[in-house]
Protein backbone atom coordinates (compact mmCIF):
# COMPACT_ATOMS: atom_id res chain seq x y z
CA UNK A 1 0.00 0.00 0.00
CA UNK A 2 1.40 3.42 -0.92
CA UNK A 3 1.17 6.35 1.41
CA UNK A 4 -1.54 8.90 0.68
CA UNK A 5 0.05 11.71 2.64
CA UNK A 6 3.79 11.69 3.11
CA UNK A 7 5.76 14.25 5.08
CA UNK A 8 9.56 14.30 5.10
CA UNK A 9 11.80 16.50 7.23
CA UNK A 10 9.19 19.24 7.33
CA UNK A 11 10.22 22.61 8.73
CA UNK A 12 8.35 25.83 9.36
CA UNK A 13 9.95 28.81 11.02
CA UNK A 14 8.27 32.10 11.88
CA UNK A 15 11.11 34.53 12.21
CA UNK A 16 13.56 32.56 14.30
CA UNK A 17 10.96 30.35 15.95
CA UNK A 18 10.57 26.83 14.63
CA UNK A 19 6.91 25.93 14.96
CA UNK A 20 7.49 22.64 13.16
CA UNK A 21 10.93 21.10 12.96
CA UNK A 22 12.10 18.08 11.01
CA UNK A 23 8.79 16.25 11.13
CA UNK A 24 8.38 13.06 9.08
CA UNK A 25 5.53 10.58 8.90
CA UNK A 26 3.23 8.98 6.40
CA UNK A 27 -0.47 8.26 6.33
CA UNK A 28 -1.85 5.28 4.45
CA UNK A 29 -5.13 5.49 2.59
CA UNK A 30 -8.11 4.47 4.70
CA UNK A 31 -6.45 5.16 8.06
CA UNK A 32 -7.57 7.34 10.90
CA UNK A 33 -4.34 9.15 11.70
CA UNK A 34 -4.19 11.44 14.70
CA UNK A 35 -1.75 14.14 15.69
CA UNK A 36 -1.58 14.85 19.42
CA UNK A 37 0.59 16.90 21.70
CA UNK A 38 0.40 19.69 24.24
CA UNK A 39 -0.79 23.19 23.29
CA UNK A 40 1.73 24.97 21.10
CA UNK A 41 3.29 21.72 19.91
CA UNK A 42 2.75 22.73 16.28
CA UNK A 43 -0.26 20.56 15.45
CA UNK A 44 -2.33 23.26 13.77
CA UNK A 45 0.76 24.62 12.02
CA UNK A 46 1.34 21.13 10.66
CA UNK A 47 -2.22 21.01 9.32
CA UNK A 48 -1.84 24.48 7.82
CA UNK A 49 1.31 23.31 6.06
CA UNK A 50 -0.29 20.14 4.72
CA UNK A 51 -3.35 22.00 3.42
CA UNK A 52 -1.29 24.74 1.77
CA UNK A 53 -2.21 27.68 3.99
CA UNK A 54 1.44 27.96 4.98
CA UNK A 55 4.45 27.32 2.77
CA UNK A 56 7.11 25.13 4.40
CA UNK A 57 10.55 26.59 5.01
CA UNK A 58 12.07 23.15 4.53
CA UNK A 59 11.28 19.52 3.83
CA UNK A 60 8.67 18.00 1.59
CA UNK A 61 4.95 17.19 1.62
CA UNK A 62 3.52 14.70 -0.84
CA UNK A 63 -0.06 13.90 -1.62
CA UNK A 64 -0.54 10.71 -3.63
CA UNK A 65 3.13 10.83 -4.59
CA UNK A 66 3.01 14.43 -5.85
CA UNK A 67 5.05 17.12 -4.11
CA UNK A 68 2.63 19.79 -2.89
CA UNK A 69 4.93 22.23 -1.05
CA UNK A 70 4.04 25.20 -3.23
CA UNK A 71 0.41 24.45 -4.00
CA UNK A 72 -2.40 26.75 -2.90
CA UNK A 73 -5.21 25.40 -0.69
CA UNK A 74 -7.63 25.42 -3.61
CA UNK A 75 -5.22 23.34 -5.70
CA UNK A 76 -4.95 20.83 -2.86
CA UNK A 77 -8.73 20.71 -2.66
CA UNK A 78 -8.76 19.83 -6.36
CA UNK A 79 -6.47 16.92 -5.51
CA UNK A 80 -8.86 15.60 -2.90
CA UNK A 81 -7.85 17.24 0.38
CA UNK A 82 -10.36 19.02 2.60
CA UNK A 83 -10.32 20.19 6.17
CA UNK A 84 -12.06 21.83 9.11
CA UNK A 85 -10.64 24.36 11.51
CA UNK A 86 -10.04 24.64 15.22
CA UNK A 87 -11.54 28.11 15.00
CA UNK A 88 -14.45 27.31 12.75
CA UNK A 89 -14.44 28.97 9.35
CA UNK A 90 -18.13 29.14 8.53
CA UNK A 91 -19.51 31.74 6.17
CA UNK A 92 -21.90 33.50 8.50
CA UNK A 93 -23.35 35.49 5.59
CA UNK A 94 -24.93 32.34 4.14
CA UNK A 95 -27.46 29.72 5.10
CA UNK A 96 -26.39 26.34 6.44
CA UNK A 97 -27.04 24.46 3.23
CA UNK A 98 -25.28 27.12 1.18
CA UNK A 99 -22.19 26.54 3.29
CA UNK A 100 -22.29 22.85 2.43
CA UNK A 101 -23.03 23.58 -1.23
CA UNK A 102 -19.95 25.78 -1.15
CA UNK A 103 -18.05 22.63 -0.27
CA UNK A 104 -19.38 21.12 -3.50
CA UNK A 105 -17.75 23.98 -5.39
CA UNK A 106 -15.23 21.93 -7.36
CA UNK A 107 -17.89 19.60 -8.74
CA UNK A 108 -19.86 22.49 -10.24
CA UNK A 109 -18.45 23.69 -13.51
CA UNK A 110 -21.12 25.98 -14.98
CA UNK A 111 -19.62 28.73 -17.14
CA UNK A 112 -20.11 32.41 -16.44
CA UNK A 113 -22.48 32.63 -19.40
CA UNK A 114 -24.62 29.73 -18.18
CA UNK A 115 -24.68 31.33 -14.76
CA UNK A 116 -25.60 34.87 -15.82
CA UNK A 117 -28.51 33.72 -17.97
CA UNK A 118 -29.47 30.91 -15.64
CA UNK A 119 -29.52 28.28 -18.35
CA UNK A 120 -30.76 24.72 -17.70
CA UNK A 121 -27.22 23.38 -17.14
CA UNK A 122 -26.87 25.55 -14.08
CA UNK A 123 -30.25 24.61 -12.68
CA UNK A 124 -29.41 20.91 -13.04
CA UNK A 125 -26.05 21.41 -11.29
CA UNK A 126 -27.62 23.38 -8.48
CA UNK A 127 -30.35 20.83 -7.95
CA UNK A 128 -27.89 17.97 -7.64
CA UNK A 129 -25.60 20.02 -5.39
CA UNK A 130 -28.50 20.92 -3.13
CA UNK A 131 -29.58 17.29 -2.94
CA UNK A 132 -26.07 16.13 -2.09
CA UNK A 133 -25.67 18.89 0.50
CA UNK A 134 -28.97 18.01 2.15
CA UNK A 135 -27.95 14.33 2.28
CA UNK A 136 -24.63 15.22 3.86
CA UNK A 137 -26.27 17.43 6.46
CA UNK A 138 -28.53 14.54 7.33
CA UNK A 139 -25.44 12.30 7.45
CA UNK A 140 -23.54 14.48 9.94
CA UNK A 141 -26.69 15.09 11.95
CA UNK A 142 -27.74 18.64 11.21
CA UNK A 143 -30.48 17.86 8.75
CA UNK A 144 -32.94 20.06 10.63
CA UNK A 145 -31.08 23.24 9.77
CA UNK A 146 -31.13 23.22 5.96
CA UNK A 147 -32.33 26.77 5.35
CA UNK A 148 -31.23 28.22 8.69
CA UNK A 149 -28.86 31.19 8.56
CA UNK A 150 -25.47 29.93 9.71
CA UNK A 151 -25.25 32.84 12.13
CA UNK A 152 -28.31 31.49 13.96
CA UNK A 153 -26.92 27.99 14.57
CA UNK A 154 -25.51 26.54 17.78
CA UNK A 155 -21.82 25.85 18.19
CA UNK A 156 -22.20 22.09 18.08
CA UNK A 157 -24.33 22.21 14.94
CA UNK A 158 -21.80 24.46 13.23
CA UNK A 159 -19.03 22.00 14.07
CA UNK A 160 -20.95 19.27 12.27
CA UNK A 161 -21.83 21.63 9.44
CA UNK A 162 -18.15 22.28 8.83
CA UNK A 163 -17.52 18.55 8.54
CA UNK A 164 -20.39 18.24 6.06
CA UNK A 165 -18.87 21.02 4.00
CA UNK A 166 -15.50 19.29 3.95
CA UNK A 167 -17.16 16.03 2.89
CA UNK A 168 -19.13 17.72 0.12
CA UNK A 169 -16.13 17.71 -2.19
CA UNK A 170 -15.91 13.88 -1.95
CA UNK A 171 -12.36 14.18 -0.60
CA UNK A 172 -9.79 11.41 -0.44
CA UNK A 173 -8.49 12.75 2.84
CA UNK A 174 -10.18 14.98 5.36
CA UNK A 175 -8.29 16.85 8.08
CA UNK A 176 -10.23 17.62 11.24
CA UNK A 177 -8.65 20.18 13.58
CA UNK A 178 -10.00 19.63 17.10
CA UNK A 179 -13.51 18.57 16.09
CA UNK A 180 -14.44 17.68 19.67
CA UNK A 181 -13.35 20.96 21.24
CA UNK A 182 -16.27 22.52 23.06
CA UNK A 183 -18.59 19.55 22.59
CA UNK A 184 -20.33 17.78 25.47
CA UNK A 185 -20.08 14.02 26.12
CA UNK A 186 -23.13 13.10 24.04
CA UNK A 187 -22.00 15.20 21.12
CA UNK A 188 -18.49 13.75 21.35
CA UNK A 189 -19.85 10.23 21.24
CA UNK A 190 -21.83 11.11 18.11
CA UNK A 191 -18.71 12.64 16.62
CA UNK A 192 -16.74 9.48 17.29
CA UNK A 193 -19.34 7.46 15.42
CA UNK A 194 -19.33 9.94 12.57
CA UNK A 195 -15.56 9.82 12.17
CA UNK A 196 -15.65 6.04 12.22
CA UNK A 197 -18.30 6.01 9.52
CA UNK A 198 -16.34 8.42 7.36
CA UNK A 199 -13.28 6.22 7.65
CA UNK A 200 -15.23 3.02 7.06
CA UNK A 201 -16.59 4.46 3.83
CA UNK A 202 -13.06 4.86 2.56
CA UNK A 203 -12.10 8.48 3.30
CA UNK A 204 -8.79 8.86 5.07
CA UNK A 205 -9.10 10.94 8.22
CA UNK A 206 -6.37 13.03 9.82
CA UNK A 207 -7.21 14.33 13.25
CA UNK A 208 -5.82 16.86 15.69
CA UNK A 209 -7.54 16.31 19.01
CA UNK A 210 -7.08 16.77 22.74
CA UNK A 211 -9.76 14.33 23.85
CA UNK A 212 -7.59 11.29 24.58
CA UNK A 213 -10.47 8.89 24.95
CA UNK A 214 -11.73 9.81 21.52
CA UNK A 215 -8.29 9.71 19.92
CA UNK A 216 -7.22 6.41 21.43
CA UNK A 217 -10.58 4.87 20.52
CA UNK A 218 -10.63 5.58 16.82
CA UNK A 219 -7.06 6.11 15.64
CA UNK A 220 -5.12 3.53 13.67
CA UNK A 221 -1.93 5.51 14.11
CA UNK A 222 -0.80 8.44 16.21
CA UNK A 223 1.86 11.08 15.90
CA UNK A 224 2.93 12.85 19.08
CA UNK A 225 4.42 16.32 18.67
CA UNK A 226 6.24 18.27 21.34
CA UNK A 227 7.81 21.69 20.75
CA UNK A 228 7.38 21.18 17.01
CA UNK A 229 9.29 17.89 16.89
CA UNK A 230 8.15 14.30 16.67
CA UNK A 231 8.15 12.76 20.13
CA UNK A 232 6.71 9.40 19.13
CA UNK A 233 4.79 7.67 16.37
CA UNK A 234 2.83 4.41 16.44
CA UNK A 235 -0.39 2.59 17.19
CA UNK A 236 -2.48 3.67 20.17
CA UNK A 237 -1.14 0.86 22.36
CA UNK A 238 2.46 1.67 21.43
CA UNK A 239 1.89 5.32 22.24
CA UNK A 240 0.18 4.51 25.49
CA UNK A 241 3.25 2.59 26.63
CA UNK A 242 5.89 4.93 25.23
CA UNK A 243 7.98 6.26 28.14
CA UNK A 244 8.74 9.60 26.41
CA UNK A 245 5.06 10.25 25.88
CA UNK A 246 4.22 9.31 29.43
CA UNK A 247 6.92 11.65 30.68
CA UNK A 248 5.80 14.53 28.51
CA UNK A 249 2.10 14.08 29.16
CA UNK A 250 1.85 12.77 32.69
CA UNK A 251 5.19 13.32 34.36
CA UNK A 252 5.45 16.84 32.87
Amino acid sequence: MTALVEVKGLDKAFGGVHAVENVSFSVDAGQVYSVIGPNGAGKTTLFNLITGLYTPTGGEIRLNGETTNDLEPNQLAERGMCRTFQQMQICMNMTAIENVMLGRHLKLKSSLFTTLFRLPGLLRDEKSARQRAADLMEYVGCGDYLETEASAMSYGALKRLEIARALAADPKVILLDEPAAGLNAVETAALEQLIRRIADEGTTVMLVEHDMKLVMGISDHLLVLNYGRVLAEGTPSEIRNNPDVIAAYLGG
Binding site: F14, T44, N48, L53, F85, Q87, Q89
Partner: protein, 291 residues
Protein backbone atom coordinates in the same frame (compact mmCIF):
# COMPACT_ATOMS: atom_id res chain seq x y z
CA UNK B 1 20.62 72.61 -14.84
CA UNK B 2 21.64 71.78 -11.30
CA UNK B 3 19.98 74.87 -9.86
CA UNK B 4 16.77 73.80 -11.53
CA UNK B 5 17.01 70.39 -9.92
CA UNK B 6 17.75 71.99 -6.57
CA UNK B 7 14.74 74.23 -6.97
CA UNK B 8 12.45 71.25 -7.56
CA UNK B 9 14.05 69.45 -4.64
CA UNK B 10 13.34 72.36 -2.27
CA UNK B 11 9.74 72.50 -3.40
CA UNK B 12 9.44 68.74 -3.08
CA UNK B 13 10.95 68.50 0.37
CA UNK B 14 8.76 71.34 1.65
CA UNK B 15 5.50 69.89 0.41
CA UNK B 16 6.78 66.41 1.29
CA UNK B 17 7.29 67.47 4.90
CA UNK B 18 3.66 68.56 4.98
CA UNK B 19 2.55 65.23 3.53
CA UNK B 20 4.67 63.50 6.14
CA UNK B 21 2.87 65.32 8.95
CA UNK B 22 -0.52 64.39 7.48
CA UNK B 23 0.61 60.81 6.99
CA UNK B 24 1.78 60.69 10.61
CA UNK B 25 -1.69 61.80 11.65
CA UNK B 26 -3.22 59.01 9.56
CA UNK B 27 -0.82 56.50 11.02
CA UNK B 28 -1.54 57.52 14.58
CA UNK B 29 -5.29 57.06 14.20
CA UNK B 30 -4.86 53.93 12.11
CA UNK B 31 -2.61 52.36 14.73
CA UNK B 32 -4.91 53.16 17.60
CA UNK B 33 -8.21 52.27 15.95
CA UNK B 34 -7.65 50.80 12.45
CA UNK B 35 -9.81 53.60 11.10
CA UNK B 36 -8.72 55.35 7.92
CA UNK B 37 -9.74 58.88 8.68
CA UNK B 38 -10.82 60.63 5.50
CA UNK B 39 -11.42 63.79 7.51
CA UNK B 40 -7.69 64.12 8.24
CA UNK B 41 -7.28 66.86 5.65
CA UNK B 42 -9.95 68.95 7.33
CA UNK B 43 -7.69 69.37 10.38
CA UNK B 44 -5.21 71.14 8.11
CA UNK B 45 -7.93 73.30 6.66
CA UNK B 46 -9.08 74.31 10.15
CA UNK B 47 -5.51 75.10 11.19
CA UNK B 48 -4.97 77.46 8.27
CA UNK B 49 -8.41 79.06 8.19
CA UNK B 50 -8.70 79.60 11.93
CA UNK B 51 -5.29 81.31 11.96
CA UNK B 52 -6.62 83.75 9.36
CA UNK B 53 -9.71 84.43 11.47
CA UNK B 54 -7.90 84.85 14.78
CA UNK B 55 -5.42 87.22 13.17
CA UNK B 56 -8.28 89.18 11.66
CA UNK B 57 -9.59 89.57 15.23
CA UNK B 58 -6.35 91.35 15.97
CA UNK B 59 -4.58 88.59 17.88
CA UNK B 60 -0.82 88.42 17.45
CA UNK B 61 0.28 85.69 15.06
CA UNK B 62 1.82 83.22 17.55
CA UNK B 63 -1.32 83.33 19.69
CA UNK B 64 -3.57 83.00 16.63
CA UNK B 65 -1.61 79.99 15.49
CA UNK B 66 -1.72 78.34 18.90
CA UNK B 67 -5.46 78.83 19.16
CA UNK B 68 -5.99 77.53 15.62
CA UNK B 69 -4.01 74.39 16.34
CA UNK B 70 -5.92 73.84 19.57
CA UNK B 71 -9.20 74.30 17.73
CA UNK B 72 -8.09 71.67 15.27
CA UNK B 73 -7.27 69.35 18.16
CA UNK B 74 -10.71 69.95 19.64
CA UNK B 75 -12.23 68.98 16.30
CA UNK B 76 -10.32 65.69 16.46
CA UNK B 77 -11.66 64.91 19.91
CA UNK B 78 -15.21 65.75 18.86
CA UNK B 79 -14.84 63.56 15.78
CA UNK B 80 -13.76 60.60 17.89
CA UNK B 81 -16.40 61.15 20.59
CA UNK B 82 -19.43 61.74 18.41
CA UNK B 83 -18.73 59.97 15.14
CA UNK B 84 -16.25 57.14 15.63
CA UNK B 85 -16.91 55.96 19.19
CA UNK B 86 -20.68 55.40 18.73
CA UNK B 87 -20.02 53.24 15.65
CA UNK B 88 -17.63 50.81 17.31
CA UNK B 89 -19.00 47.66 15.74
CA UNK B 90 -19.37 49.03 12.21
CA UNK B 91 -17.73 47.58 9.12
CA UNK B 92 -14.49 49.04 7.77
CA UNK B 93 -16.29 50.56 4.79
CA UNK B 94 -19.00 51.96 7.01
CA UNK B 95 -16.35 53.68 9.15
CA UNK B 96 -14.77 55.10 6.01
CA UNK B 97 -18.13 56.52 4.94
CA UNK B 98 -18.63 57.99 8.42
CA UNK B 99 -15.32 59.84 8.22
CA UNK B 100 -16.23 61.00 4.71
CA UNK B 101 -19.53 62.27 6.10
CA UNK B 102 -17.62 64.04 8.86
CA UNK B 103 -15.28 65.57 6.33
CA UNK B 104 -18.19 66.92 4.26
CA UNK B 105 -19.81 68.22 7.44
CA UNK B 106 -16.68 70.05 8.59
CA UNK B 107 -16.12 71.43 5.10
CA UNK B 108 -19.71 72.65 5.09
CA UNK B 109 -19.21 74.42 8.42
CA UNK B 110 -16.03 76.01 7.11
CA UNK B 111 -17.84 77.22 4.05
CA UNK B 112 -20.51 78.78 6.26
CA UNK B 113 -17.94 80.48 8.47
CA UNK B 114 -15.30 81.53 5.97
CA UNK B 115 -17.03 81.52 2.57
CA UNK B 116 -15.67 79.98 -0.60
CA UNK B 117 -12.86 82.41 -1.33
CA UNK B 118 -9.14 81.87 -0.83
CA UNK B 119 -7.49 83.27 2.26
CA UNK B 120 -3.88 84.27 2.73
CA UNK B 121 -1.76 83.58 5.78
CA UNK B 122 1.37 85.77 5.93
CA UNK B 123 4.83 84.23 6.08
CA UNK B 124 5.99 83.58 9.63
CA UNK B 125 9.11 85.63 9.07
CA UNK B 126 10.73 87.63 6.24
CA UNK B 127 9.14 87.58 2.79
CA UNK B 128 12.63 87.84 1.31
CA UNK B 129 13.51 84.45 -0.24
CA UNK B 130 16.91 82.86 0.33
CA UNK B 131 19.18 82.03 -2.61
CA UNK B 132 21.18 78.82 -2.51
CA UNK B 133 23.33 77.75 -5.46
CA UNK B 134 21.06 79.50 -7.92
CA UNK B 135 17.84 78.10 -6.47
CA UNK B 136 15.34 80.16 -4.53
CA UNK B 137 13.92 79.06 -1.24
CA UNK B 138 11.02 80.68 0.55
CA UNK B 139 11.79 81.30 4.22
CA UNK B 140 8.48 79.64 5.01
CA UNK B 141 9.93 76.38 3.64
CA UNK B 142 12.51 76.54 6.43
CA UNK B 143 9.67 76.94 8.93
CA UNK B 144 7.91 73.92 7.46
CA UNK B 145 11.06 71.79 7.65
CA UNK B 146 12.07 73.09 11.07
CA UNK B 147 8.69 72.64 12.67
CA UNK B 148 8.26 69.29 10.91
CA UNK B 149 11.52 68.07 12.44
CA UNK B 150 10.61 69.36 15.89
CA UNK B 151 7.24 67.65 15.68
CA UNK B 152 8.75 64.33 14.62
CA UNK B 153 11.31 64.47 17.44
CA UNK B 154 8.59 65.39 19.91
CA UNK B 155 6.47 62.47 18.72
CA UNK B 156 9.34 60.03 19.10
CA UNK B 157 9.95 61.26 22.65
CA UNK B 158 6.23 61.16 23.38
CA UNK B 159 5.91 57.53 22.33
CA UNK B 160 9.11 56.26 23.91
CA UNK B 161 9.37 58.34 27.08
CA UNK B 162 5.88 59.11 28.35
CA UNK B 163 3.35 56.78 29.92
CA UNK B 164 0.54 58.14 27.74
CA UNK B 165 2.53 57.58 24.57
CA UNK B 166 3.38 54.05 25.61
CA UNK B 167 -0.26 53.42 26.43
CA UNK B 168 -1.27 54.48 22.93
CA UNK B 169 1.32 52.14 21.43
CA UNK B 170 0.21 49.29 23.64
CA UNK B 171 -3.42 49.81 22.67
CA UNK B 172 -2.53 49.76 19.02
CA UNK B 173 -0.78 46.43 19.47
CA UNK B 174 -3.36 44.66 21.55
CA UNK B 175 -6.56 46.28 22.69
CA UNK B 176 -7.67 43.48 24.97
CA UNK B 177 -4.36 43.10 26.76
CA UNK B 178 -4.09 46.85 27.28
CA UNK B 179 -7.52 46.88 28.84
CA UNK B 180 -6.44 44.10 31.17
CA UNK B 181 -3.44 46.04 32.40
CA UNK B 182 -5.71 48.98 33.12
CA UNK B 183 -5.36 51.22 30.10
CA UNK B 184 -8.61 53.01 29.33
CA UNK B 185 -8.78 52.25 25.61
CA UNK B 186 -11.54 54.73 24.80
CA UNK B 187 -9.48 57.45 26.43
CA UNK B 188 -6.43 56.37 24.49
CA UNK B 189 -8.37 56.43 21.22
CA UNK B 190 -9.50 59.95 22.00
CA UNK B 191 -5.90 60.91 22.69
CA UNK B 192 -4.82 59.45 19.37
CA UNK B 193 -7.41 61.56 17.57
CA UNK B 194 -6.36 64.60 19.58
CA UNK B 195 -2.65 64.23 18.76
CA UNK B 196 -3.44 63.43 15.14
CA UNK B 197 -5.65 66.50 14.81
CA UNK B 198 -3.02 68.69 16.49
CA UNK B 199 -0.49 67.38 13.96
CA UNK B 200 -2.91 68.19 11.15
CA UNK B 201 -3.51 71.66 12.54
CA UNK B 202 0.21 72.36 12.76
CA UNK B 203 0.77 71.12 9.23
CA UNK B 204 -2.12 73.26 8.03
CA UNK B 205 -0.76 76.42 9.63
CA UNK B 206 2.84 76.07 8.51
CA UNK B 207 1.96 75.27 4.91
CA UNK B 208 -0.84 77.85 4.60
CA UNK B 209 1.46 80.80 3.69
CA UNK B 210 2.82 78.73 0.76
CA UNK B 211 -0.37 77.24 -0.65
CA UNK B 212 -3.03 79.73 0.42
CA UNK B 213 -6.01 78.23 2.12
CA UNK B 214 -9.71 77.77 1.50
CA UNK B 215 -12.55 75.66 2.85
CA UNK B 216 -11.90 72.81 0.42
CA UNK B 217 -8.12 72.35 0.50
CA UNK B 218 -8.49 69.51 2.98
CA UNK B 219 -9.66 66.84 0.54
CA UNK B 220 -6.64 66.73 -1.73
CA UNK B 221 -4.11 67.25 1.08
CA UNK B 222 -5.77 64.51 3.10
CA UNK B 223 -5.66 62.13 0.14
CA UNK B 224 -2.00 62.88 -0.46
CA UNK B 225 -1.34 62.13 3.18
CA UNK B 226 -3.15 58.83 2.75
CA UNK B 227 -1.03 58.06 -0.32
CA UNK B 228 2.12 58.91 1.63
CA UNK B 229 1.07 56.72 4.55
CA UNK B 230 0.30 53.82 2.22
CA UNK B 231 3.61 54.18 0.37
CA UNK B 232 5.42 54.08 3.69
CA UNK B 233 3.29 51.20 4.93
CA UNK B 234 0.18 51.90 6.99
CA UNK B 235 0.94 51.98 10.66
CA UNK B 236 4.63 52.75 10.37
CA UNK B 237 5.82 56.12 11.70
CA UNK B 238 9.11 55.97 9.81
CA UNK B 239 7.16 54.94 6.75
CA UNK B 240 4.89 57.96 7.05
CA UNK B 241 7.85 60.35 7.11
CA UNK B 242 9.74 58.62 4.30
CA UNK B 243 6.53 58.16 2.28
CA UNK B 244 5.64 61.83 2.67
CA UNK B 245 9.07 63.07 1.61
CA UNK B 246 9.23 60.63 -1.34
CA UNK B 247 5.80 61.66 -2.52
CA UNK B 248 6.60 65.37 -2.26
CA UNK B 249 9.89 65.04 -4.13
CA UNK B 250 8.49 62.79 -6.88
CA UNK B 251 5.58 65.16 -7.35
CA UNK B 252 7.81 68.23 -7.60
CA UNK B 253 10.13 66.47 -10.04
CA UNK B 254 7.18 65.30 -12.14
CA UNK B 255 5.70 68.78 -12.18
CA UNK B 256 9.05 70.29 -13.09
CA UNK B 257 10.38 67.87 -15.66
CA UNK B 258 7.23 66.27 -17.10
CA UNK B 259 4.03 68.28 -16.83
CA UNK B 260 2.26 69.91 -13.96
CA UNK B 261 -1.04 68.58 -15.37
CA UNK B 262 0.12 65.08 -14.65
CA UNK B 263 1.84 65.60 -11.31
CA UNK B 264 -1.07 64.06 -9.41
CA UNK B 265 -1.20 61.17 -11.88
CA UNK B 266 2.47 60.54 -11.14
CA UNK B 267 1.76 60.53 -7.41
CA UNK B 268 -1.02 58.00 -7.83
CA UNK B 269 0.97 55.85 -10.25
CA UNK B 270 3.74 55.81 -7.67
CA UNK B 271 1.47 54.34 -5.04
CA UNK B 272 0.31 51.65 -7.49
CA UNK B 273 3.89 50.82 -8.39
CA UNK B 274 4.95 50.57 -4.76
CA UNK B 275 1.98 48.40 -3.86
CA UNK B 276 2.49 46.09 -6.86
CA UNK B 277 5.94 45.17 -5.62
CA UNK B 278 5.52 45.71 -1.89
CA UNK B 279 1.88 44.99 -1.01
CA UNK B 280 2.41 46.37 2.49
CA UNK B 281 4.26 49.50 1.53
CA UNK B 282 7.92 50.26 2.20
CA UNK B 283 7.92 49.75 5.95
CA UNK B 284 4.64 47.93 6.55
CA UNK B 285 4.62 45.05 8.99
CA UNK B 286 4.30 41.55 7.61
CA UNK B 287 1.31 39.90 9.17
CA UNK B 288 0.97 36.17 9.61
CA UNK B 289 -2.57 34.98 9.03
CA UNK B 290 -3.81 32.96 11.97
CA UNK B 291 -6.44 30.31 11.46
Amino acid sequence: MFSEFLQFLFTGVTIGATYALIALGFTLIYNASHVINFAQGEFLMIGGMATVSFMALGLPMPLAITLAVLLSGLMGVLLQRFAIAPAKKADVVTLIIITIGASIFIRGLAQLLWGKQYHVVPNFSSDEPIRILGAVMNTQSLWVLGIGTVVVVALVLFFTRTMIGKAILATSMNKQASRLVGIKTQFVLMLAFLVSALLGGIAGVVVAPITFTSYDIGIMLGLKGFVAAAIGGLGSGVGAVVGGLCLGIVEAMAAGYLSSDYKDAVAFSMILLVLFFMPRGLFGAKVVERV
